[in-house]
């Protein structure tokens, strides 16, 4: 007898870098790592601490940050990403980490260096094989200007 196909939602672009839905009131979290010996934090989690070669422990990182820089990609999108899409570096609050992230493409006109942004996880683009994929993204915390 043929097994009933399990309905699966979109998969994350990589496993173990952000928490998966459904979310509680805290919302999604990026999964980073901490080296207990040198107290450095990392994102994404490394194999071992590259400074101490000690095992690392996974930790949730801040969902809040400030936009360090950004750009709008307007051509040749990989992974079926809808054009234009935005990329930025976000300084995570309290973690001392600067992470590459997608930035909310519906807010292009509002983006400013130094603005506060918050994490979300969205179905955005595909996994390289045409299946819809989950990606993390930061969005301005202020209301839309226009």
């Amino acid at each position: 007898m043929k097994e009933k196909e399990v309905q699966r939602g979109p998969e994350p672009i990589l496993n173990g870098i952000f928490t998966l839905p459904p979310y509680d009131k805290e919302g999604p979290r990026l999964i980073g790592a901490l080296c207990a010996r040198c107290t450095r934090r990392f994102f994404p989690p490394p194999f071992v601490c590259p400074y101490c070669l000690d095992e690392i422990e996974e930790v949730y990182l801040s969902s809040q940050g400030t936009l360090h820089s950004f750009t709008v990609v307007r051509v040749k999108a990989p992974y079926g990403l809808p054009l234009p899409y935005c990329l930025g570096y976000v300084d995570l609050k309290d973690d001392g980490l600067r992470v590459l992230a997608l930035i909310d493409p519906t807010r292009i006109e509002d983006l400013r260096i130094g603005m506060e942004v918050a994490l979300c996880v969205k179905e955005f683009g595909d996994d390289g094989k045409g299946n819809p994929a989950l990606r993390y993204m930061f969005s301005p915390k202020t209301e839309k200007l226009s």
């Binding site: 870098i17 750009t71 990609v73 990989p78 899409y85 990329l87 570096y89 001392g96």
Partner: protein, 382 residues
């Protein structure tokens, strides 16, 4: 370490070579270099071949052995080098090391690339990497540095565009350049936006091309040529990948340049002519600062000043740079060094820099965690 010199150069025009294979491009450049240096294949002790994409685009690999045997080089060690944009200059570094160490007297370096392949997307950080899977592409990395440079230092879109205008003007004087038409600042600013603030004419085009060099122990170089060009220092560094990464100043770039000056016992003031990795207009501005041609943050103003144009105080990318030649990755780093060699030999024709005695060739490649994966800096002198 022994002193090492360049005794032969070979290059083919950069552009579209749809009817030729990678091996055909590479062998022609290698043959040109052997003939230019008057070096017999049997005198070559070791060979390095640089290429970036062929395993991916053509399912071609260990190409160096194919290229070198076509020009009579066999039995000796041959290595295939891949280091993104610095593949060619990394191969050069290894060739320098193999002679400087005393193990070999003569080495050949060849780099070749074919990029006019249907469906070739923008270069990324590698398919398994988080950055790539998020949607990172190389122009985006430079665009974010540009935005930050504009934010911190007041660099303007016009200053960025000046780099493309200057390099295209230089390219119009170089027979091997792919694009030789003159541009205006308005042309650059009004071309389609690729990654804000970088427009299409702010980004180097792709290209097919090949370039080759023959290196020789300086003590034996005069067997081949009356004017060998000495390698004063050859440096290859890789990224620090530290977090929080610093977009500005670019630590890896500054570290590579500083090390090259230290090893050569020279400084920015000693440099008469430079080739640097102008894959994007902002890149040349960042490299001015790393190379010490201006203080940090002043790169945009330097680009606009004319000092780095042919006829200026210290011309940069007189070959036309990647912005005019195109960027066949495996060939690029070798071609940059060839331009410096031609300048120092006073054989650069209409784009000759007056009294050029010391030159520097700089390249950067690869992206990882917002950092470069490699930076090569080679200082040469008469």
């Amino acid at each position: 370490m022994r002193s090492v010199s360049v005794v032969g150069t070979g290059i083919i025009p950069f552009g579209k070579h749809l009817d030729q294979t990678l091996v055909q491009l590479g062998r022609q450049a290698a043959l040109n270099a052997l003939r230019d240096g008057g070096v017999k294949p049997s005198e070559v002790g070791i060979g390095f071949f640089a290429n970036f994409l062929a395993a991916h685009t053509f399912a071609e690999f260990t190409i160096g052995q194919n290229v070198f045997w076509e020009v009579g080089i066999n039995k000796v060690p041959v290595l295939n080098v891949e280091n993104a944009c610095t593949s060619g200059s990394s191969a050069f570094h290894m060739a320098w090391l193999s002679i400087a160490s005393g193990q070999y007297d003569v080495a050949i370096v060849a780099g070749a690339e074919k990029m006019y392949v249907p469906g070739l997307g923008l270069i990324n950080s590698g398919e398994t990497q988080l950055d790539t899977r998020l949607g990172f592409v190389v122009p985006a990395g430079f665009a974010m540095r540009a935005k930050r440079h504009m934010h911190e230092y007041g660099t303007t879109a016009e200053q960025l565009a000046c780099v493309a205008v200057k390099n295209r003007k230089h390219g119009s004087l170089n027979p091997i350049a792919q694009y030789k038409d003159i541009l205006t600042v308005a042309d650059v600013l009004n071309s389609p936006m690729i990654c804000d603030p970088l427009t299409r004419l702010s980004c180097c085009p792709i290209g097919d091309g090949a370039a080759a060099l023959i290196l020789c122990a300086s003590s034996k170089a005069r067997r081949y040529t009356h004017n060998p060009i000495a390698i004063r220092s050859s440096v290859l560094v890789t990224g620090g990948y530290e977090n929080p990464l610093s977009l500005l100043p670019w630590e890896t770039d500054f570290r590579g340049c500083r090390l090259a000056y230290e090893k050569a016992g020279l400084g920015p003031k000693d440099i008469h002519v430079a080739e640097c990795h102008d894959a994007f207009t902002i890149a040349e501005i960042l490299h001015y600062e790393a190379l010490g041609f201006c203080p940090e943050g002043e790169g945009g103003r330097l680009a606009m000043s004319g000092e780095t144009s042919l006829g200026g105080k210290r011309p940069v990318n007189v070959s036309g740079g990647l912005l005019s030649k195109g960027h066949p990755l495996g060939a690029t780093g070798v071609a940059q060094i060839i331009e410096i060699v031609l300048q120092l030999k006073a054989k650069a024709g209409p784009r000759q820099v007056d009294r050029a005695k010391v030159g520097i060739a700089h390249c950067m490649g690869g992206d990882k965690d917002g950092d470069g994966k490699s930076c090569t800096v080679n200082i040469l002198s008469v």
